[in-house]
Subunit: 316 residues, 2 copies
């Protein structure tokens, strides 16, 4: 048995996640506080700051940041120096800010009108709609601010990360998917159309997490393509499982309103494929993701493997 | 009389603006169409695209884009090559997208609840609140997408432009100012507090326009500081005049609802200083802006001078 197989057998993704989550939480706490507090002197009002912090801190599984760090570990290989975490950590937090802002706006009365998120009242319930709108807008801008520090990351890396994030977040990515979602309420979709919607709405940002992590290193073209494939399969698998959990889990477990899709007459994988075929499809996507990693030529993909398995086999 | 003075005397800012407006409109039309149309294949729904285009095209004075191009002309100096417009034109359009998105969100019922903008129904009136929310979100992302093309602008310039835009647009800039504005309805502000609010809400993006235009060239430290001062004075002057016009012009002239600030009990320069002192203050700020240009060491500041005069002496 060679060393690589041994490592894979003994790799503990929960321990890995716990270690990195700690780092991510501290970074988010720092960047959505220190910078913001400094701005209080310039008059940025506390309500905005509090709403931004409420939307980001103390909640969330941080899947996107973990994917960034896992992808970066995969392309980085051996012997990292102590302080080369700056770019991946900023990329990780930038993605979480985009994700957090999208949830804030998505929960608003004119969108999903949801009152519960991560087990807490949603931002507009707590701070009012106007503050929720502005907090979301400010979080999107802050994501790009995090990616463009005056020092610590080479300029070409900053530009690449900004480009990847902007494309994944906008009309040809996440927001485009949300708009399709909005237009599809009560409209019968084919499986193909549903996949297209989710590839944008959830998939784009998850795939970007993997690509941005990789962009913090210098992956080969083969590795880059493999990671893109992994990210696409994982992104879709995440949504299929989300649809399954919406009908099989309860609100307390999910930390958000369960059964929402069905009650809003939204097309889901379960409504189109049924529960059994949806479950099988999620496993098939997991197999695709793992196969892509196996073909990547990268030897440190244990965290990416473990995260994919966790996403597909999760219960909330 | 030397050549420089002659140029200043004969400079026609309206002709200059018309020429550059043409270029700006064509670029916006291209970037909020060509790219977006390409994405239709990926499923981005037409409603989102139409709402984005409606928010951006066929309206607006394009002050921010014009400031970018004027600042770039000032730092570029003589003998531009034919194709070095790429960076300033992208910066110009990115700023306009941020401005346009802020208007879309600002007009929404949970904010100013305005139904008229640039003489047309506001985006949420025309497309519904959810589409307005998403169109605004997508426009912000598209701004950063424009600044990060895969070729045509050096990476360090892309990173610098993204950083300037993110800081001007977010919690320590425009959105921060909007949040203060929101919190100040019915609250008596001092002139100092009012200035702080406007420095963020309107001033940050106007100043960023000047700084981003300058960042497309290589200005000296002296020129950079002078342009920052010019931008700050111009940004504040713009708002003072806006407050004056809110009480002196009618809705048809403004293309938006006149008398809105007073009816919403918002603090303005007119309510704090009175009309006469506000008018004098606007002229004082214009003098500050022009003095900064005179001390910049730059010889091609005619367009910046002309735009400052137009801003202060405008009637709509």
């Amino acid at each position: 048995m060679d060393a690589r197989v041994t490592t894979e057998l003994t790799f503990d993704v929960d321990a890995w996640s716990a270690k990195h989550l700690n780092r991510i939480e501290r970074a988010l706490e720092r960047w959505v506080t220190a910078e913001v507090c400094a701005d209080v002197a310039y008059g940025a009002p506390m309500t905005l700051i509090e709403a931004m912090r409420y939307a980001v801190l103390d909640g969330g599984k941080r899947l996107r940041p973990l994917l960034v760090l896992a992808a970066w570990e995969a392309v980085r290989g051996e012997a990292p120096s102590a302080d080369d975490h700056e770019a991946p950590l900023r990329a990780a937090c930038a993605l979480e800010l985009i994700h957090a802002y999208s949830l804030v706006h998505d929960d608003m009365p004119c969108m999903d009108n949801d009152v519960l998120r991560r087990g807490k009242p949603t931002v507009h319930v707590k701070f009012g709609q106007a503050s929720a709108l502005l907090a979301g807008d400010a979080l999107q801008a802050l994501a790009f601010e995090l990616l463009t520090p005056t020092q610590g990351i080479p300029a070409d890396q900053q530009a690449r990360l900004c480009g990847l994030l902007a494309r994944a977040a906008g009309h040809s990515g996440m927001v485009g998917g949300q708009a399709i979602d909005l237009a599809s309420v009560g409209v019968p979709l084919t499986e193909h159309q549903l996949r297209d919607m989710h590839r944008l709405k959830t998939g784009a940002l998850l795939q970007a997490s993997v690509c941005m992590g990789a962009a913090c290193g210098n992956p080969s073209a083969v590795a880059q393509t493999a990671l893109q494939t992994y990210g696409a399969a994982l992104g879709l698998a995440f949504q299929v499982v989300d649809d399954i959990l919406d009908v099989t889990a309860d609100s307390a477990t999910l930390g958000k309103t369960a059964g929402k899709d069905a009650s809003q007459d939204k097309p889901t994988y379960v409504s189109i494929l049924g529960l059994a075929r949806s479950t099988a499809y999620a496993q098939e996507l997991l197999a695709q993701a793992l196969a892509a990693l196996a073909q990547s030529g990268l030897s440190h993909t244990q965290a990416l493997q473990g995260l994919a398995k966790k996403v597909v086999n999760r219960s909330c």
